[in-house]
Amino acid sequence: MALKRWCGGLGGAGLAAAALLSACAQPVPPACDPASVAPATALRVIVQFREPVAGDAPQTAQRLQTLSQGCVWPVSSVSPRLYVYRFGGVADVALLRQRLLAWPLVQDVVPDHRASSHVDR
């Protein structure tokens, strides 16, 4: 319960959230509330599934959260096989990818990079 409260409250905690993120990185999967607010430091990734899934369904998020050993917040859908999530409590995308690929339905995990316009600055 304590972990749940921590992770659920991270979003509103500003800079303090980053310091508390390590709590979500415990080896034992925390029970984060997907309806809570993701911290700005949470990794934003695109998960590619091998077949169409209900990517924002609670059971999908729960499975990803368990595998990630962190906290997950669904963000958006790109296509029936591509979904965007924020993951808290995971050090980097490589580690997250390694963990999520344990689910055969997951084909790939890539960072959701921020792109910019190509005006010469």
Binding site: A40, Q48, S79, D112, A115
Partner: protein, 549 residues
């Protein structure tokens, strides 16, 4: 490869290899255009001029009726004499010059035979086809006017401005009518020189994220919504440090790029878009500090006509997508997946290569197989110092800015002008802004593809992309791209040459050839210290100037 394939005989392997190579060659090399005689339009009318002294229609005292009757009889006699009974008098241009019609249009080669027969008659001075003439469309937009000194130098004749795209000649054949070009960018302002060519309200794909709220979107809409208007993308100093991006005024980048594709022409205002007859579908994917790749991919899918969960179907799917944006990474699995989906719908994706000045690398999504990757050149046709080049680059288009080795044209417009807004933060009055960048180059290629798609709707977009590449002009002698052949793509974008090539293009029988083989060879930065390395490394400044009109 599985073991079973290793049992291929040498002959079969050779055959397989030759087929593979032929496929690549067909993609990479210019296609043979159809012979010019076959390409010439059929002839349905002739102009016959009789010699002086021959009794003709239009003699003094003749009425209109008798004149026509006499001319008709005269033509009939001539036709009978040469055995061309299908000729019929149509009208007179002068007393000695008459227009005749054929029962039905004939091929140019057949017409030539008939003309020779008619000209053999001693009463005939000459006979020529009465060809259909189209106006040389020169829009009355003030930014277009001025030839070599025009603000819109990028659209002029290459005889006047070496780096220009010969748009006016192309407009005689096509303005992009009936084609939708999606601009995935920062949204739009309803600029008076653009609005009537926009498919409003477009769609806003910037998704609210609980981690940052609506900061990127900078609007009050909760996530994705049917309003692609640009509320401004300024970044204040505190926000810059919080979100790790630069302090900036609003750029109105989406409105600028949209205007380059489809600004309204012939309205005596501002400038003209490359495909001013086309429709521009604004898809908002960039906000403050750019935008997330996932929103760009979702927006691209929607623009092409694919469904996106929670978003209504796009009633006006585009045939061309323009992405003047990118991120300095490899093409990832998600991007490849979406590009493949879109290519399968016969939709072109045009993307800018980026402005880091790389000589051996271009950004994503331009580096994704199947994407038309556009680098930029200056008004004299030299590669712009900021423009990324390298493997996968398809073509170069005017992006403005400075260059190096060619004589500069001091005092002449150097930046690319298009529709903008005067607001430094929130929207202000319409204006015109000058920018430089590969962002400005890509929409010109997208525009030319729209011209071709309108002219030859029977051709696949892969064919039309090939037309654009192979019709490109050679890089100017002594320019950067001549020192490093292959890294800049096939050449300088040429709208007129592309239109001409499209006329005679024979459709390919194969499927999408958008990926796999590239016209541009591998980057050659390893071959030696590139001439412009020092210049490319210079700090690049934001260069924006308001045009006062």
């Amino acid at each position: 490869m599985r073991v079973a394939n290793c049992s291929l005989t040498l002959a079969r392997r050779a055959l397989f290899l030759s087929v593979l190579l032929a496929g690549c060659a067909a993609w990479a090399l210019p296609k043979q255009a159809a012979p010019s005689a076959a390409a010439a339009p059929p002839v349905g009318r002739l102009i016959i001029q009789y010699k002086t002294g021959v009794k003709l229609a239009g003699q003094p005292g003749a009425t209109v009726v008798t004149e026509r009757l006499e001319a008709a009889a005269q033509v009939q006699r001539l036709a009978t004499a040469v055995g061309a009974t299908e000729l019929r008098y149509l009208k007179s241009v002068s007393a000695r010059m008459h227009v005749v019609t054929l029962a039905q249009p004939v091929a140019a080669t057949e017409a030539r035979v008939l003309i020779q027969k008619l000209q053999a008659n001693p009463a005939v001075e000459f006979v020529v086809p009465d060809v259909r003439v189209r106006p040389h469309l020169v829009p009355n937009d003030p930014l277009f006017a001025g030839g070599a000194f025009a603000d819109q130098w990028h659209l002029q004749s290459s005889a006047l401005v070496a780096g220009a795209i010969n748009a006016a000649t192309a407009w005689d054949s096509s303005t992009g009518s009936g084609v939708v070009v999606a601009v995935l960018d920062g949204g739009y302002r309803p600029h008076t020189d653009l609005a009537t060519n926009l498919v409003m309200p477009g769609y806003d794909f910037i998704n609210g994220d609980t981690a940052e709220g609506l900061w990127t979107a900078n609007d009050s809409d909760a996530g994705r919504d049917a309003d692609a208007q640009d509320p401004g993308d300024w970044v204040s100093e505190p926000e810059a440090s919080l979100y790790d991006c630069a302090v900036e005024d609003s750029s109105w980048h989406g409105t600028h790029v949209a205007g380059l594709v489809g600004a309204v022409a012939n309205n005596a205002q501002g400038g003209a878009g490359v495909a001013y007859g086309a429709l521009v579908l604004p898809v908002r994917v960039l906000g403050r500090c750019g935008g997330f790749n996932s929103d760009i991919l979702a927006g691209a899918r929607w623009a092409a006509g694919l469904s996106v969960v929670g978003v209504p179907a796009n009633p006006t799917p585009a045939r061309v997508l323009n992405l003047s944006l990118g991120v300095d990474t490899d093409c990832d699995a998600a991007s490849r997946n979406v590009v493949n989906e879109i290519r399968a719908l016969n939709v072109s994706i045009v993307a800018s290569t980026g402005n880091e000045g790389y000589e051996d690398r271009i950004t994503s999504p331009a580096n994704c197989p199947g994407v038309v990757a556009v680098t930029a050149h200056t008004r004299d046709g030299d590669s712009a110092d900021y423009a990324n080049v390298g493997m996968g680059t398809s073509i170069s288009a005017p992006g403005g800015g400075d260059n190096s080795v060619l004589p500069s044209s001091i005092g002449e417009p150097r930046f690319v002008v298009s529709t903008g807004n005067a607001g430094l933060t929130t929207p202000g009055a319409d204006n015109y802004l000058e920018y430089a960048g590969t962002s400005m180059a890509a929409p010109q290629v997208a525009g030319v593809l729209a011209l071709l798609a309108s002219l030859r709707p029977d051709l696949s977009m892969a064919d039309l992309e090939q037309v654009v590449r192979t019709s490109a002009r050679a890089f100017p002698a002594g320019s950067y791209c001549t020192f490093y052949p292959g890294v800049c793509g096939s050449g300088l974008l040429d709208a007129a040459a592309a239109v001409e090539a499209a006329r005679n293009w024979v459709p390919s029988s194969g499927g999408d050839s958008g990926g796999g083989c590239t016209v541009g060879g591998p980057g050659q930065a390893d071959a030696g210290l590139p001439l412009l390395a020092g210049i490319a490394a210079l700090a690049l400044l934001w260069r924006r100037r308001s045009v006062v009109r």
